[in-house]
Amino acid sequence: MITRFLIQGMDKRGLVFLAVLAALAILVPLANLLLPPGSLLHVPTSTMSLWGKYLCYALLAISLDLVWGYCGILSLGHGAFFALGGYAMGMYLMRQIGSRGTYGNPILPDFMVFLNWSELPWYWYGFSSFPFAMLMVLAVPGLLAFVFGWFAFRSRVTGVYLSIITQALTYALLLAFFRNDMGFGGNNGLTDFKEIVGFNVQAQSTRAALFSMTCIMLIAGFLIARGIVSSKLGKVVIAIRDAESRTRFLGYRVDRFKLFVFTVSACMAGVAGALYVPQVGIINPSEFAPANSIETVIWVAVGGRGTLVGAALGAVVVNYAKTVFTSGFMAPYWLFALGALFVFVTIFMPKGILGTAQDWWTRRKAPPEPSPAAEPAPAE
């Protein structure tokens, strides 16, 4: 049943995407570890980690596309779920440091010693265990999304209002995590990691493994999202996006369906954050910045909303462009470029890179089908 669930509705585009990811998962680490640095095909470790980061963003983008592209919930706070997953991983990594910290305290992370704390806060318990930490990577963002969604969707908060409160959510967390007395390292966040499941986080082979793991998780996330949107539940969710009130009159409890996709999506964003942290080596409150969540929306819009593959593509393309842009003399203008890109895509390519490419392709192959009304009509 699970396999059938995961492969239903798989199309050519999805298969290509999976094949590329599978190839990356195997070839990039090999090219990094086995080929000599001088070789043409050698992938430097820094490049591999950079692309690992892009792929984490791709998973975040897919999670956002699931709620925005398919269910019409424009979350402007998905960065919060990403960051919470990241913090859960960061807490595990902090506990792995043990007595190797600057202050040599076997239990307390450095920042707690610095704050003169005498014992570990209760919410840090258990994080020395990898399985527990991984459970928290899913549970913390998932639970927050569930509770938040429970109230928001039941009281039928939609549209701009919902977007604003998701933005407020991530902003509130930003402020909270900045505080030293919250016990998450305040301003500096969590860093100076040493080991992950017994391996040195800095080691080339560990980084290669993390890269592969990211590809695998992106594959898994894509398959789950694909399975969901291709199921009948996915059709209900699209129906909610296009005519929410009509869906209710068919007897579907709209709030429960929204809650389901929102929670799954938050868990997925949490996994993305957890993979991100060991590859960039730090997690701090800036990950909660509202701008991050907005950027994620831009990736999805650029790649093609409601396509999953497009969302991942958008994340990689925009972040690659960001790296190129911000490493040169044009660095100060990146935000302008990003804004311009968003405006350009919204006006000229409303379906994003993938949607536009697909339209172009089908138009070449077949006469156009009368396109449905651009504005979905609300039920009267």
Partner: protein, 254 residues
């Protein structure tokens, strides 16, 4: 379906009594009383703004009445339930402005409406059984959209959307169908076909039809209720109500 529920307060399928609702002080429905018997088909006419659509909003839980009783199946108080719960009780609705899912295929529109458990887990692991597939085929045949099943609903003409929505109602298999202006935007031929289709449906369902088209109402040949300014002005066979002076004055005579 035709037997009254035990403990029922009334044997009627739908019972509205003394229902009023106002929007910002404007009384859209005032003291409306109406009963529909099991298996009955009722036509509702009335000038624009008479409150016909608002009445359907009240029955389906979209609008809560300020005062009044709205009972279904003799014992269920509809004013206490939300839209989804009312739909699952067996009240289906076709909207005045045809509302289908534009980005789904015609077949998927029917599938979504098809009577089934509406839970998250059921829909997530849904497999269309042979019986369901057959039912979908049958309905597509009835609404004459079998050849268009893979087209997006958004690409349909207005009249076809009306039919698709009627098909969705059929798929829901409700006890009571509320059909708001089904013939709007249809050619005379289509209107006649719609009347035939509705009569067919009324054989084993209770139906309330709102329509302006007098030819259409005549075609249905059922009891007519005339609404005016939110309450019942007259009720009876079409010939009788159309002879009523007040009715002629407010509606037919215009």
């Amino acid at each position: 379906m035709n037997a009254p529920v035990p403990g029922a307060l009334t044997s009627s399928l739908l019972y509205l009594d003394g229902v009023s609702v106002s929007f910002d002080g404007f009384k859209a429905i005032r003291g409306l009383s109406l009963t529909i018997e099991p298996g009955e088909m009722r036509a509702i006419i009335g000038p624009n703004g008479a409150g016909k659509t608002t009445m359907m909003d009240i029955i389906t839980g979209k609008t809560k009445p300020d005062v009044g009783t709205v009972m279904f199946g003799g014992s269920v108080d509809l004013t206490k339930l939300d839209e989804a719960a009312i739909a699952n009780l067996g009240i289906g609705r076709k909207f005045q402005k045809p509302t289908v899912f534009d980005f789904h295929t015609i077949e998927d529109n029917i599938l979504l409406a098809l009577k089934s458990k509406r839970t998250v887990t059921r829909t997530l692991f849904w497999r269309t059984a042979a019986a369901d597939a057959k039912r979908i085929d049958d309905i597509l045949g009835i609404i004459k959209l079998g050849d268009a099943r893979d087209r997006l609903a958004g690409s349909l003409s207005h009249g076809q959307k009306q039919w698709l929505e009627i098909g969705m109602l059929l798929a829901q298999d409700p006890k009571l169908l509320l059909v708001d202006e089904p013939a709007a935007g249809m050619t005379d031929g289509e209107t006649a076909e719609t009347a035939v289709l509705l009569k067919e449906i009324a054989r084993d369902h209770s139906v309330i039809v709102v329509e302006h088209d007098m030819g259409f109402i005549r075609e249905l040949g059922v009891k007519v209720t005339v609404l005016h300014e939110g309450s019942v002005l007259a009720e009876g066979p079409l010939d009788q109500v159309s002879a009523n002076e007040r009715v002629v004055e407010v509606y037919l005579g215009r």
